[in-house]
């Protein structure tokens, strides 16, 4: 077995231990908060104050720098949740379920932010905030999926049953992600096609692309930090009766 596989196996098994994760994650979380937050501050200031105006949209295009990262992360968080759902169903790993519980509110907030900034952006550009096209509608479905993940857990009284139901919903819902992504290519929509595609030159001028890259990276790092922080809270909530948690509480 290769070294990488061995490392993966060991990490995978350790990740299954809430205690190990809680002990080792605080530094990572703080670092991600700081670096991610700083990058978002830099990217946003760059996008608002230094990037040039757009030939067509003028200054309103600057909403792109908060709209695109929020929308992209809303989808990425869902994919991560679906993977956690599969891990939970196959291995019955408690940490995978806790990760879903930690990430779902984050994903829901991001989806709402993407929809809201899109609405605001649409008014000066499209001439309307909302339109029922394939992109906006599939994004609204994503919001309801996140809402469903949270509501389903509260609706099922037994925690282990709730965890299984949530995992199944997480996996089934992931089919919505390619629809969001390709809606603008498969159907006629008011939303424009993607400006950045893998293997193609971006259709955003480099002078306008850099702040977006900085902000997108910042969102990634910051939100991984947020999900780690949320997972730490879920661990303490769920393991309240464990000796190590009591020791931790009393030590503070």
């Amino acid at each position: 077995m290769g070294k990488a596989t061995e490392w993966f196996r060991r990490t995978f098994h350790r990740m299954g231990s809430p205690r190990w994760f809680f002990a080792g994650s605080r530094g990572w979380m703080l670092g991600l908060y700081l670096v991610g937050g700083a990058l978002i501050a830099i990217g946003s200031a760059w996008g608002l104050g230094f990037a040039p105006t757009d030939r067509l949209q003028g200054d309103s295009y600057r909403i792109l720098y908060v709209h695109v990262p929020a929308a992209h992360l809303a989808e990425a968080v869902y994919v991560a949740i679906a993977i956690a759902g599969a891990v939970h169903l196959v291995w019955r790993m408690k940490m995978a379920d806790l990760a879903i519980a930690a990430a779902a509110p984050v994903g829901m907030t991001l989806t709402a932010a993407a929809l809201a900034t899109g609405y605001i952006w649409g008014i000066p550009t499209w001439g309307t905030g909302w339109v029922w096209d394939a992109r906006t509608t599939s994004m609204l479905v994503l919001l309801f999926l996140y809402f469903g993940l949270i509501a389903l857990r509260q609706a099922v009284p037994r925690a282990d049953r709730a965890a299984l139901a949530v995992s199944v919903l997480a996996i089934v819902g992931v089919v919505n992600i390619p629809i969001i992504k390709y809606s603008v290519d498969w159907f006629t929509t008011l939303h424009q096609p993607a400006s950045i595609r893998i293997g193609e030159r971006p259709s955003i001028d480099p002078s306008m692309l850099w702040p977006l890259a900085v902000n997108a990276l910042g969102y990634y790092l910051f939100l991984v930090g947020v999900v780690i922080a949320a997972l730490r809270a879920k661990i303490i909530e769920r393991e309240a009766k464990a000796d190590w948690v009591r020791t931790w509480v009393q030590a503070r």
Partner: protein, 145 residues
Amino acid sequence: MTPLRRQRAATVLFVLAGAGVTLAVAMLALEQDINLFYPPEQVVSGEAPIGKRIRAGGMVAAGSVAHDDTGLGVSFVVTDYQGSEFRVDYEGLLPGLFGEGEGVLVAGQLRADGVFEAEEVLAKHDENYMPPEVADMMAATGEQP
């Protein structure tokens, strides 16, 4: 993987495949309803229904925008640059990004004579972002974005 886990993994893949196929079939069947608007080709060919509230879209043909005497009424030609085009009559405010050579989406009724009576006009912008100077340079060299 233990046999039990392998079986669970197979179930997960099966559920995922089932959901995917169901959705793909539904989307193929509903394609016309999921599409937001009729492109010029379908408006001209008669695929777009006449006298019903529909949406149509394309590019505003260069030099086709004409305002009437009241200043509120406007007419323009929507084209796909591939031979299909139709005229739009509209009375009301135009969105800020409306312009010749730009994308447009109109909602209203298609008349039997082929003219589209719009009640609403929205601007559909493309995926290109660039500063005005870069756009001028590209226009000067005749390069397409």
